[in-house]
């Protein structure tokens, strides 16, 4: 997924090979990650797609099924991965993820601790941010989840950047071997205040901690426990509002048969309207945008804090 190996980098000359991970894009809300395998097929509502047809095509290609249905084959990125990974837990999405990476000041070479691993959605972006020389140590007390996450990082080619450990972080804290070595720590745990003292031990002075919690009571208790060793304590909520775009035909006539504001379907753009068309003179086309009616109203609160610098 990451161009850690420059030969795998997307380019005009990089073609899909047997064994590559591709993201099959049907629609923006329907994608799937698939490992390309010479003899395999993908079957969906558009028909049967032979993987062998995909091999040798560039990423970003449109490929067809036996019934002439089509999908696009994309190179995986952490953003796409978040949309296609198998949900074994609640996960973090792009808005929270990108803010966390920025606020934790993660740059290549950093050492980052995380718990819990969950479905590895955030971990994937953490790995991208520390590459090529840094490392993410992520812990979950759920053995099966940790194993699945490990498999996923294998699949996405991140295993050299991520180590998954099985450990009860609320009960035992992070392993002592990381004391004073972490540039940043991220917590997505039900009772983060139990892990905060340990996180403080792991961080370098001035290192940043982030705790993600859906409920304000969790935030309240986390902040209480942060006040002794941390400074610059800040809590945020970040949401995304998305917009839909339409080309709208605005009626300029005053006639009776006017159909004001009729919306042209996006699929059938009326580009070539014959000149001199009477109708055309009386209406104009404008591209307009409005917020989508549905949106996530809440994901969680992000609390950041910086370890006090005492020496």
């Amino acid at each position: 997924m990451l161009p850690i190996d420059p030969t795998k980098k997307i380019s005009f000359t990089r073609h899909i090979c047997d064994g590559d991970l591709v993201v099959v894009y049907e629609r923006h809300d329907n994608m799937k990650a698939i490992k390309v395998c010479q003899g395999s097929v993908l079957q969906n509502r558009f028909g049967v797609f032979k993987h062998s047809d995909w091999i040798g095509k560039p990423f970003g290609s449109k490929v067809f099924s036996n019934k002439n249905g089509f999908v696009y084959l994309l190179a995986p990125t952490p953003e796409l991965w978040t949309l296609v990974l198998s949900h074994r837990t609640q996960i973090l999405y792009i808005a929270d993820i990108s803010f966390v990476i920025m606020y934790l000041e993660i740059v290549p070479g950093c050492m980052v601790l995380e718990s819990g691993t969950g479905s590895g959605s955030l971990t994937t972006s953490l790995a991208r941010a520390v590459a090529p020389t840094g490392h993410v140590y992520t812990f979950d007390f759920h053995e099966q989840r940790a194993a699945s996450a490990r498999e996923d990082f294998e699949k996405t080619g991140l295993s050299s950047l991520v180590t998954v450990g099985v450990r009860d972080i609320q009960g035992e804290g992070f392993p002592d071997e990381f004391s004073g070595l972490a540039d940043s720590v991220f917590l997505d745990l039900p009772q983060p205040w139990l892990a905060i003292p340990s996180a403080g031990k792991m961080l370098k002075p001035d290192g940043v901690l982030c705790s993600f919690s859906p409920c304000i009571e969790q935030v309240q208790r986390a902040c209480d426990s942060l006040r002794s060793n941390f400074t610059d304590i800040k809590t945020f909520e970040i949401l995304l509002r998305t917009y839909e775009v339409r080309e709208v035909k605005m009626d300029c006539s005053q006639g009776d048969e006017a159909k004001p504001g009729s919306i042209l379907p996006r699929k059938r753009p009326q580009r070539a309207i014959e000149k001199g068309n009477e109708q055309d003179k009386l209406s104009s086309q404008t591209v307009m945008a409005r917020p989508c009616s549905e949106a996530k109203g809440h994901t969680g609160y992000l609390t950041f804090a910086r370890l006090k610098c005492l020496s």
């Binding site: 850690i4 560039p58 808005a95 990476i101 920025m102 972006s125 001035d206 995304l240 775009v245």
Partner: protein, 456 residues
């Protein structure tokens, strides 16, 4: 330890300052933000006094300094806070006693303080520390005892800022640089808020070894932020229309190692284009005019700040507040000689350009509020590898809507989305948790998508 050496190059992520290093000075809890380059001769003005920044060299980032009256006069000295918090934000143990008090008896007139200005000056000349003056002010305040603990703390903080100012030494990172500019000079960074910047970097999959094409008309903030993520691998290529590159002055504020600076290159769009054609000519002319404008603006801000090309000190202070009588303009540090750093933003080497022509860029980010987006994008998209993600920032919705519509019609990209981030900060205190009263209502719009192979 090697971290104290002046060569930052060997260390990826230094946490201790060195001579010639760029720092962000946060004075009095964000009241004033100053970017400075540390050298033996550089100074900071607080109130009517000038302090040498020399004591900051070799100190860990995150350390706090306060003004001290030494034998050689005033200087900045390291201040190590106690483990327990020492201000209201960090203290949370007083809510219960507080509930019985209220402020009904409080009359705020100017008679509450019995200590006169002359008396304070006298204390000063006798060598009283700022903290001692604050204590004296509290002792001589007739109303202090009647205030709720909450307002007592507020009063103390206010006096502390005035008489015992604190300077926090911070690392200039994309995060802090963006926040500082957004607070003070949002127009210079095209009103790009830190959450929008972070989304741009994610959406464009900025990662080690990638070759990121940017159009940065936000002063270099974008270029610097991308370079920070590349960590000295890959390239960030900042392209421009016409013949004059856009200013990337803000890049100098980042503490980028030579290794990283080498990976920041610039190239006119004409050099990157796979082929020339008639339509792009026109756009380039449009570009020339804009560049000229841009230059004037840059000159202006350079002379305002009296910044010579190798000095990276910039004052960012908020609008006047009640401490302004004490805290005024800062002096600009003298030119720093040790900053012989590699220049960021050299012309892209020919081999690199050839490679990009052969392979395409890994991703594209545009933050060009002054260019016609669609004609720009039409020229840039062909330079991207297939399946490459792109993210376009704009403070207005309409140009992005038009681009999105045209990309859909032309079947040039998929996964198209216009998003607007919304960021709310919370005050979290015992029994006093609520969203902050003030928030930024707007951080910009982003159009993101993924380039697909042209169907032909």
């Amino acid at each position: 330890m090697s971290q104290n050496n002046s060569q930052s190059d060997s260390i990826q992520n230094p946490r201790v300052t060195w001579e010639g290093c760029s720092v962000l000075l946060d004075i009095n809890d964000g009241d004033r933000l100053v970017f400075a380059r540390l050298s033996a001769g550089s100074t900071l003005k607080i109130g009517n006094k000038t302090y040498s920044l020399q004591p900051l060299i070799g100190c860990p980032f995150g350390s706090l300094f306060q003004v001290e009256n030494g034998d050689q006069g005033h200087c900045l000295a390291r201040f190590v806070p106690s483990i327990e918090g020492n201000n209201i934000q960090e203290k949370g143990d007083f809510e219960s006693q507080d509930e019985i008090k209220d402020n009904r008896a409080l009359v705020d007139n100017n008679k509450a303080q019995s200590l006169t200005g002359e008396e304070i000056n006298a204390m000063r000349s006798q060598g009283a520390t700022g903290d001692e003056i604050v204590e004296a002010l509290i002792a001589n305040s007739a109303t202090f005892e009647k205030k709720t603990l909450f307002s007592q703390e507020k009063y103390r903080l206010k006096k502390q800022k005035k008489y015992a100012p604190k300077v926090l030494l911070r690392r200039p990172f994309a995060r802090s640089i963006c926040e500082a500019y957004f607070k003070k000079y949002p127009a210079r960074i095209g009103f790009l808020r830190v959450d929008a910047l972070s989304l741009l970097l994610s959406m464009a999959n900025v990662s080690a070894n990638s070759d990121v094409l940017v159009v940065d008309m936000v002063g270099g903030l974008l270029t610097g932020a991308v370079a920070e993520r590349l960590g000295g691998t890959g390239y960030v290529c900042s392209t421009y229309l016409g013949s004059t590159p856009y200013s990337i002055d803000i890049v100098r504020i980042f503490n980028l190692s030579n290794e990283i600076c080498k990976r920041i290159v610039r190239s006119p769009l004409t050099d990157l284009s796979l082929s020339q054609n008639g339509t792009s000519e026109q756009i380039h002319q449009q570009g020339d005019e804009i560049n000229q404008q841009g230059d004037e603006i840059n000159m202006e801000c350079l002379s305002n700040n009296q910044m010579s090309s190798s000095v990276g000190m910039e004052e960012i202070s908020p609008t006047e507040n009640d401490t302004s009588d004490v805290i005024s303009e800062t002096t600009v540090s003298p030119v720093n000689k040790t900053g012989k750093s590699t220049k960021a933003g050299n012309k892209a080497p020919k081999q690199a350009i050839d490679l990009w022509k052969e392979n395409g860029f890994s991703s594209l980010i545009i933050a060009a509020p002054e260019l016609d987006l669609w004609s720009l994008l039409k020229d840039l998209l062909p330079l991207l590898a297939n399946s490459a993600p792109f993210a376009i920032y704009h403070q207005y919705l309409q140009p992005l809507a038009t681009c999105m519509h045209n990309l859909q019609l032309g079947k040039m990209a998929i996964g198209l989305q216009i998003s607007e981030p919304w960021l709310r900060e919370y005050q979290v205190l015992p029994s006093r948790t609520h969203p902050c009263m003030q928030m930024s209502a707007f951080g910009g719009y982003i159009l993101s998508g993924i380039k697909i192979c042209s169907s032909s």
